[in-house]
């Protein structure tokens, strides 16, 4: 009798949860709140329309970003379960220069965009990645990776914008990484959760199980880690997406477009736009193309370089990895360098 109860609980509960959820969703389908606007006074109906538009934009960015976040968290789980710390330590460059330059190019092997790169970087830090390398990777990987290079090439062709984007990203990410190599102790920059295991759990033995777990168990562990991280990072993604959607729905775009030709102002505006729109770096080249005819080329370049490094959603996710002061530097350093580079490009290329 007790045995039967056990089987019932262990086998049926998971499937029961599934069934309950399917039922809930299908039930929701029939009774969705249709035609809100029709029964409301005009002022309120306008507000509902705005809310509906905001929801559409919010869900749009979320749906677009979720697969990439998922990929990043899966990569993070993969690194945690299958990458050995000791083996990785042997491969890592020792000097600040090597780490910063290497970090900028690491994206070629981990094709992630700015949503996925944050959980992955945090995991790599835990595995002992040096700070300058991680910082350079975090900033450069969303651009210097095969997918984004292909989409930029498709949008702009192999011209000044394409090479400018790659070159500037590499330069800014490496320089920022290098600056961080002088920053001293990792513990002062990173949150405890992102620090290498030896720093925050030094009392715990690294190899807790003498027997190598089965592959199936390893994969399950990897997926569970991915779920946990999807929720931890996903929270910041959702907040960021919501802010970006609200900005888009409530602030008129024309307020920005009036200043498209100033050598410096246009760069500032496009950088602001990149942050506000928070578009995934895998597709932002196509968006930038829409501005290429009205805005200065330096400002379009700044959009393409800064957007993948810093935007609303990635900034919020940074706060899960770095201390607040470090996040401020992570934003300000690339920002200043991008503004400078964009303006110089404008003056040099004649706008």
């Amino acid at each position: 009798m007790i045995e039967a109860g056990k089987v019932l609980r262990t086998k049926l509960i998971p499937w029961g949860l599934w069934a309950a959820f399917g039922f809930l969703i299908l039930g929701g389908l029939g009774s969705r709140l249709e035609g809100w606007g029709a029964v409301l006074p005009p002022a309120l109906a306008g507000a509902v329309r705005t809310a509906e538009n905001l929801t559409a934009v919010f869900l749009g960015i979320f749906i677009e970003a979720a697969p990439f976040l998922l990929l990043g968290t899966l990569a993070s789980g993969l690194v945690e379960v299958f990458v050995d710390r000791a083996a990785m330590a042997k491969l890592l460059p020792r000097s600040g220069w090597g780490a910063a330059l290497g970090g900028s190019l690491l994206g070629l092997f981990f094709p992630v965009c700015e949503c996925g790169v944050v959980p992955l970087t945090r995991r790599l830090f835990q595995k002992g990645l040096p700070l300058p390398m991680g910082v350079a990777f975090l900033l450069a990987a969303p651009v210097i990776n095969p997918i984004v290079m292909a989409s930029t090439l498709a949008a702009f062709g192999p011209g000044l914008v394409f090479w400018g984007r790659l070159g500037l990203t590499f330069l800014i990410a490496s320089l920022t990484g290098l600056i961080f190599s002088r920053a001293g102790d990792m513990g002062e920059q990173l949150l405890p959760a992102a620090q290498p295991m030896s720093l925050n759990l030094s009392l715990e033995p690294q190899e807790s199980s003498p027997v190598e777990p089965l592959l199936g168990a390893k994969i399950q562990r990897m997926l569970i880690i991915a779920v946990d991280e999807f929720f931890e990072m996903g929270r910041y993604l959702v907040v960021g997406v919501f802010l970006a959607a609200a900005m888009q729905t409530l602030v008129p775009r024309s307020a920005l477009l009036g200043v498209s030709q100033g050598q410096l102002v246009s760069v500032v505006v496009m950088v602001a736009l990149a942050v506000l729109l928070s578009i995934c770096s895998t597709v932002d080249a196509f968006i930038a193309l829409a501005f290429a005819s009205t805005f200065t080329s330096g400002s379009v370049l700044a959009f393409l370089v800064f957007g993948p490094m810093v935007d609303i959603k990635s900034t919020l996710m940074f706060l899960r990895v770095f201390r607040k002061r470090t996040v401020a530097y992570l934003i300000l350093l690339p920002l200043l360098m991008t503004l400078l580079a964009g303006t110089i490009f404008n003056l040099w290329a004649g706008g």
Partner: protein, 265 residues
Amino acid sequence: MSDHRYAMFQGLITAGLGFWLLLRVWDGTILFYINQRFVLLVLLAALGLLLLAQMVFRQLAQRRQSLLTGEVQPPHAHSGAEEHDHTHDHDHDHGTRQASHLMWVALPLVLGLLFSPKPLDASAVANRGISTNAAVSRTAAGGMVLGIPPEERTVLDWLYAAEDSPNPAELDGLPAVVTGFVVREAGMPADQFLIGRFTITCCVADSAALGLPVIWPEAEKLADQGWVQVRGTVKMVQEGGRWQVQIAAEQVEEAPQPEQPYLFP
């Protein structure tokens, strides 16, 4: 929140998001949110979410079973300053399992269920502005649009046609049947309106409204933002050295919103 309960909600929300995305792909309303190029990616993500949910549920069941057979200690709730040992099999960063994570990640699901899938409304033009030339990002090869019969060309196709045609003046006089929403901008002549559509390159966040000027004596009487179908002939006008497509309307009829309200450049 106890690990057990947290994991259960995690599973439920993950499964819910997966199911919701699957439904949107199934009934086609996913195209209210993203460009069609990304549908496959979203489908894979939905399946991935369901797989993750299944993993969570499976681990919950395994935990319960080993609990019943007495293999491990009961999972502790991470509350208070209790000293805990790492004998049981879990690896999470302590203090990261909070109810607020669950609530935020559930927000897309809640909004998705609360508001029925709806594309961006024409009222958003007021905020985003509308353009009468195809200065939008373009992924399709140039010149393709010239192979489309004139009556089947969309707002976007006509703008491309004016751009691609070696001699844009030749488009003059071609028949046009175009569907879109009505936009009346301040300062427009009384016999003109724009017939507009949103274009989506990636997701709704980058939507840009495009419009063709339509000449129609009763333009003022049209309901702003309503969907119409315009029948007429193309009129090519030169504005500042650039060819602009206009439509001289013979008939303007109310029309239902197309199943796919956006155009994908």
